[in-house]
């Protein structure tokens, strides 16, 4: 679809861009003080996000999914992931209200950057062209680098930002090289064009051509793996999560990961369209699936094993988020309709439970000024509601019923098993075994909160802040969706299709 006719389909993105621009311009020209500043700007950001969400829900359906001459592809999956990105950003805005980790004179920039990040994630999840993928990844990355280094109370945050830039720069450099090779090999940049070239060219699917394509894909995978924090491109993750301001860490662990998964899935189905319909038929995609399968196995295992040794809750959750990337990769490997559907369900669940867990960390941090597991001792007595919410999130992250996390894992494993075949079932077994390992470190937090008592006189944990409120609110759907998960089934049904 040409440019002008495409515009109605990107109204959410337009709304986000306008909101960000409004935030920056208002701050520069008007510089309001007091309440207008404290409340007005976050409200403006939330309003913009809400508008984007409404536009997204009401977006006109179109028979032709490709917009701007193939730069953007919109399918149910991308629509869903865009929704996840926008909601996650809105939650991060809420989490930031009154957070001490953000400098008070830079709040407006923070919100503007968040909205731009949401824009980047939306574009990334619907990018259907290598150049769009690159630009969108860079928008997401650049805003993330800056937001990771936003906290000005000592060097932890700036250090996190710098490490993020360095790792991110190299990852995107490698990916770029991979893109250049793809461009050279295929002479085309749109994913559909690549798919057609791959299907029809014999030089590319045999002999050296096949290996050259695979080499390029490995390079590309470095960049995408970096975005979803998959092993071996995960090294930045614990440091950045720990150093970045917690409200942003919460978003970082969900939003860019969701967009990364969207683009990973789209990349696969773009190159091998049969992956979207009948994954078993896509024999030429086997090396790609093998790569992803190995990546999934290694990612969840490394993430879970490393998390066992962490004493800092943010680092623990960082490794746990690496492990969850591994779980979600299982859905990517499964392919078909079930795979993306399962990934979508898991993303929805992960959005709620992981942001919830970070909200608890943020709430505790506000009074205890620490993320060490030691300050969680006796939390069950000091702040029962908060501890209960955290327990729900942790059990959900483990994948125990009756929480939403169980449903998410159920869909992922089921998608693999439904695909059939020994290796797929084996991957599912690795996945469930990893859930058992993960129980070990999640239970450590449970134990700290409920079974240990606090040493000395710990600071009382206040519930009267946005983070605690958000945590308690998010615990409700985590439980409710675990018991009644028809909405999740609807998500799986809706977003299973990619084109």
């Amino acid at each position: 679809m040409p440019t002008l006719e495409s515009l109605p389909h990107v109204l959410p993105e337009v709304a986000l861009a306008v909101t960000a621009a409004a935030l920056f311009v208002l701050e520069a020209l008007w510089q309001p003080r007091g309440r207008a500043r404290r409340v007005g700007f976050p409200l403006l950001a939330l309003g913009g996000l809400l508008a984007a969400l409404l536009f997204l829900v009401a977006s006109p359906s179109s028979a032709e999914p490709r917009f701007f001459g193939g730069l953007l592809t919109q399918d149910p999956f991308s629509t869903f992931v865009r929704g996840v990105a926008i909601v996650a950003t809105a939650l991060a805005v809420g989490l930031a209200l009154g957070s001490p980790s953000l400098p008070s004179n830079r709040r407006v920039e923070y919100h503007g950057l968040l909205v731009l990040l949401a824009l980047g994630m939306c574009l990334l999840s619907s990018a259907g062209h290598l150049l769009m993928i690159y630009v969108a990844i860079e928008i997401v990355s650049l805003t993330s680098y800056l937001l990771a280094g936003f906290d000005d109370r000592g060097g932890r945050s700036a250090e996190a930002g710098l490490k993020y830039v360095l790792f991110g720069g190299v990852a995107s450099g490698v990916m770029l090289f991979g893109f250049s090779l793809l461009f050279g090999l295929f002479g085309d940049l749109s994913l559909s064009g690549l798919g057609q070239a791959l299907a029809h060219s014999t030089t590319l699917s045999t002999g050296a051509g096949r290996w050259a394509t695979l080499l390029a894909l490995v390079f590309v995978l470095a960049g995408l793996g970096f975005k979803i924090a998959a092993v071996p491109f995960h090294m930045w993750c614990p440091d950045v999560y720990e150093g970045a301001p917690t409200p942003f860490t919460a978003l970082l662990s969900v939003g860019p990961k969701a967009a990364g998964f969207a683009v990973l899935l789209r990349f696969g189905t773009g190159l091998w369209p049969e992956l979207a319909t009948d994954a078993a038929a896509a024999t030429s995609a086997l090396p790609w699936l093998l790569l992803l399968g190995v990546m999934s196995t290694v990612t969840m295992t490394v993430g879970n094993l490393a998390a066992i040794w962490q004493d800092n809750l943010k680092r623990l959750l960082a490794y746990s988020s690496i492990a969850h990337a591994g779980y979600m990769l299982m859905g990517v490997v499964a392919g078909g309709r079930e795979g993306p559907g399962a990934v979508a369900v898991y993303l929805a669940v992960y959005l709620i439970m992981n942001i919830g867990a970070f909200a608890v960390v943020s709430a505790v941090d506000r009074s205890a000024h620490s993320e060490d597991i030691g300050v969680y001792h006796g939390l069950g007595r000091r702040a029962p509601l908060l501890a209960l919410a955290m327990a729900v999130f942790l059990l959900s992250l483990t994948g125990l019923p009756p929480t939403a996390g169980f449903v998410g894992k159920l869909y992922l494993f089921a998608s693999l098993i439904h695909h059939g075949g020994f290796w797929y079932v084996l991957l599912a077994v690795v996945g469930v075994l990893n859930s058992v390992v993960s129980l070990y470190f999640y239970a450590r937090v449970l134990r700290a909160m409920f079974l240990e008592s606090a040493a000395g006189e710990p600071a009382p944990v206040s519930l009267a802040n946005s983070a605690a409120a958000l945590a308690v609110v998010l615990a409700v759907p985590t439980l409710a969706l675990g018991i009644f998960w028809q909405p999740l089934a609807a998500i799986a049904n809706f977003s299973g299709s990619l084109f």
């Binding site: 950057l113 150049l131 280094g149 109370r153 090999l185 030089t203 050259a212 080499l215």
Partner: protein, 162 residues
């Protein structure tokens, strides 16, 4: 003739890159990088990409490298930091293998057959007609990137030391 120029420029670029990696003094290394960037611009000219070559000189060699030099000199911190020697050895070996593999693979796939260019291929006119027709969306989005960079400069640059 073109081939000779290309080989000269390529040698210059590789030399600049290697020096940028190896020179202990950061200022010298940055200078070496500028040599590499200019040589690359020359190669762009040879590859019928005059517009990109100009951008390369103006933005890369001009703006970005000035920024680097500015920071290096402004901070005035000791930058003679030794290299990780064993990594250098291992990296060179791995890099060599990688090179061999990549080139070997690509040679098997791509023909060296040169094609004649269309009229004005790579000129500013041609670039702009494609840029503002087909790729106008990425072009607009690139401005978002620059906006973020500007905000970064303001937020981080004007930060009062704790």
């Amino acid at each position: 003739m073109t081939a000779t120029i290309f080989i000269l420029l390529a040698a210059l670029a590789v030399l600049g890159a290697v020096l940028a990696v190896l020179l202990p003094n950061a200022v010298h290394a940055a200078m070496a990088l500028i040599v590499m960037l200019v040589a690359t611009a020359g190669i762009y000219l040879l590859l019928s990409a005059p517009f990109v070559a100009v951008i390369q000189i103006a933005v890369y060699a001009g703006a970005i490298m000035v920024l680097f030099l500015f920071v290096i000199m402004l901070m005035n911190v000791e930058l003679r930091i030794p290299l990780r020697r064993w990594t250098l050895v291992a990296g060179t070996v791995a890099g060599g293998l990688f090179l061999y593999q990549t080139v070997h693979l690509l040679r098997g796939v791509m023909d060296d057959q040169a094609r004649s260019g269309a009229d004005g291929f790579g000129s500013a006119h041609e670039v702009s007609s494609v840029l503002f027709a087909e790729y106008v969306v990425p072009f607009e989005l690139v401005s978002v990137l620059l906006l973020v960079a500007i905000v970064a400069a303001v937020v981080l640059g004007k930060r009062e030391a704790a």
